[in-house]
């Protein structure tokens, strides 16, 4: 087979940072089933050169399967994967131009950090001196210049993942695949490595597919986030757009926190909810009784005067969680509806559990879904 992708450049012929822009990766109608479980159900997605796209979704949504199809570890039942327009679906994993970092520390235990990084170069029969030089260069790039002689068991989890990243970059792939590389690390190391991966990805211009179930990770790192559900792409958009203008109720509820409030569609195309009449964004269900999706930051909470008689918008504070600059209130309306509201912490001092509060909504278009029977 002469279809090695794309003619993997001879390692060592230029500085490690001198990597060409990444490749365009296209998923076309990917379908993959494991027995009766459908992991990918016609996935279509295009990732532009040099872009970092996060595949986000709940467990079993097919995000890891999609990544493994690009890596060559899974064969789709139908559909194809194109890299720079070339169909790579049937090319063996070891002949694809993609580096991969795994969730579990996947360093070879019998090799030092340097030999781990140089493993791919050795496979390609690069001369020993050149291998050492490249490995040192890459270890320097990931911030571990003095760890070349250490073995995996002598390094922390974060250090091991850095070495794994260096190893994945050693052959100068034009596609980098990251399969939940941070999920086994503790919070502080995770945040550091997250920034480092993004910095490296931007400086190398390598097309990166990043699988995660952590939406904070996806939203903070990715150029675009592709939300998958049951093997299908729900939406692929920039983080802000995904959060502000979710295309489907699934995305709306999966990304960030969302209230589901009972409402009623009015003839004017507006929806009545918690005493407000708001414009509807997106598709409108056939039934008049609906549920309205509202973010906690779009809920307003005011303290009524002592003498005010209660209305149907007068809620009781159940709990208040201090989250730094904001405080999340959990309130219950007289009809039993539960509402979450985010308030600037400086305004939430009086809203202690048991206090009365008047709930309102900001004037923004909202998504509505049919109310379950």
């Amino acid at each position: 087979m002469s279809t090695t992708l794309p003619a993997a450049r001879k390692p060592g012929d230029a500085d490690v940072r001198d990597t060409p822009a990444g490749a365009r990766v296209e998923f076309r109608g990917l379908r993959r089933a494991f027995g009766s479980t459908v992991a990918l159900d016609g996935l279509d997605l295009t990732i532009e050169p040099g872009e970092l796209v996060a595949l986000l979704g709940p467990s079993g949504c097919g995000k890891t399967t999609a990544l493994r199809v690009v890596a060559g570890f899974e064969q789709p039942d139908s559909g194809e994967v194109l890299v720079d327009g070339q169909d790579i679906t049937r090319i063996p994993a070891n002949r694809r131009d993609a580096g991969m970092v795994f969730q579990s520390y996947s360093l070879f235990p019998n090799l030092s950090a340097r030999d781990n990084v140089a493993f791919g170069l050795r496979v390609r029969k690069v001369a020993a001196a050149e291998r050492r030089e490249r490995a040192a260069e890459l270890l320097d790039l990931v911030g571990l210049p003095d760890h070349g002689d250490r073995y995996p068991h002598q390094m922390s989890g974060g250090q091991q993942q850095r070495v794994a990243l260096a190893r994945a970059l050693a052959l100068r792939p034009r596609v980098l695949l990251l399969d939940e590389p941070l999920s086994a690390l503790d919070a502080k190391v995770r945040a550091n490595l997250r920034d480092e991966i993004r910095r490296l990805q931007l400086s190398l211009g390598i097309t990166t597919v990043f699988v995660t179930h952590d939406q904070e990770e996806a939203l903070s790192m990715a150029d675009r986030v592709a939300v998958l559900n049951a093997g299908r792409l729900e939406q692929c958009a920039a983080p802000a757009e995904l959060y502000e203008r979710p295309a489907t109720p699934f995305v709306a509820e999966f990304v960030g926190t969302m209230n589901r409030l009972p409402g009623r569609l009015a003839d004017s195309g507006l929806v009545e909810v918690v005493g407000a009449r708001l414009p509807v964004d997106g598709p409108v269900p056939a039934t008049r009784d609906v549920e309205v999706l509202v973010r906690p930051e779009n809920v307003t909470v005011t303290v009524p005067a002592e003498t005010d008689a209660g209305t149907d918008r007068t809620a009781t504070v159940v709990s208040a969680s201090f989250l730094g600059s904001v405080t999340r209130l959990h309130l219950v309306l007289p009809d039993g509806t539960s509402v979450k509201a985010d308030l600037p912490s400086r305004d939430a001092g009086a809203l202690v559990p048991g206090a009365r509060a008047t709930v309102g909504l900001t004037e923004r278009p909202v998504l509505v879904v049919a109310r379950p029977a």
Partner: protein, 310 residues
Amino acid sequence: MAAMTPTAPDTVEAGTSGAAPRASTRRPRPRSRPRPRVWRGAVLALAGAYFLTPLIASFVFTVHVPGRGISFEAYTELLAADGFTQSLLLSLGLAAATISLSLLLAVPALIAVRIGSPRLRPVVEVVCMLPLVVPPIALVTGITTVLRWGPEHLSRTPLYQTFLAVQNEDFPVVLVLAYTVLALPFVHRSLDAGLRAIDVPTLVEAARSCGASWPHVVLRVLLPNLRASLAGAAFLTLALVLGEFTIASLLGFRPFAVWIVSISGAQARMSVAVSILSLVITWLLLLLLSRAATVPATVSAAPATSRKES
């Protein structure tokens, strides 16, 4: 923020578990008290006596000739004894061939099962364990029947020569085949434990994504990380082959174990000397193998204790 400071449950919990700290203040005493080393010493001495007394008695028997005092004649005569070198070399050759064949069979099979179809693992395990439940005498009866049947029915085919070749007295391949079957449970156990200790699928995928072909993955990634269990399998197979008597004797071959028995009647002192020597040889070989296993283990088998990142 009262909801965030649920003091009551904590208090209750502290109250209910209040006995624990008091108990723990009393407990350190027995913990800090030195363990009764005397028992350890006694057990060690008993076990040592159990194993060493026969050995020492045997050794004394070989070197102490009544009326003549100490003499190492039995050992010096050994090297010149008829059949000693041939039978020892034959046993070592059989052991080497058996180790090679059993590893060649088991390693690819177990790796394939581990990566390709983990569901088959119990099946493979049962098949590999069968030799433990089939007595060697039954195995040798079966082999004898086949060896008799073969030449009678296959005399006009090229297989006839094969039947003769596997029974060549200089190097009876049929013994290698039988020993491989006998060694299978030990080889399987050792390799299976080694394969369970490493994340085979991830290591394979990591190597594949680095451009490694399948042979490269097995030779450069898996086998180096299985070194300890490979050595363990070889260790057990070697011990088995050097000590095996039943099959070799009934099939009429004369490896080391059979030779020892054959001379024991005529030259009692020498036969005991040979037994001691064979023990020493076996120990030396096993030490060599275990050394081969522990050297890389200092690198590969250390626990994955992750240090905190600085």
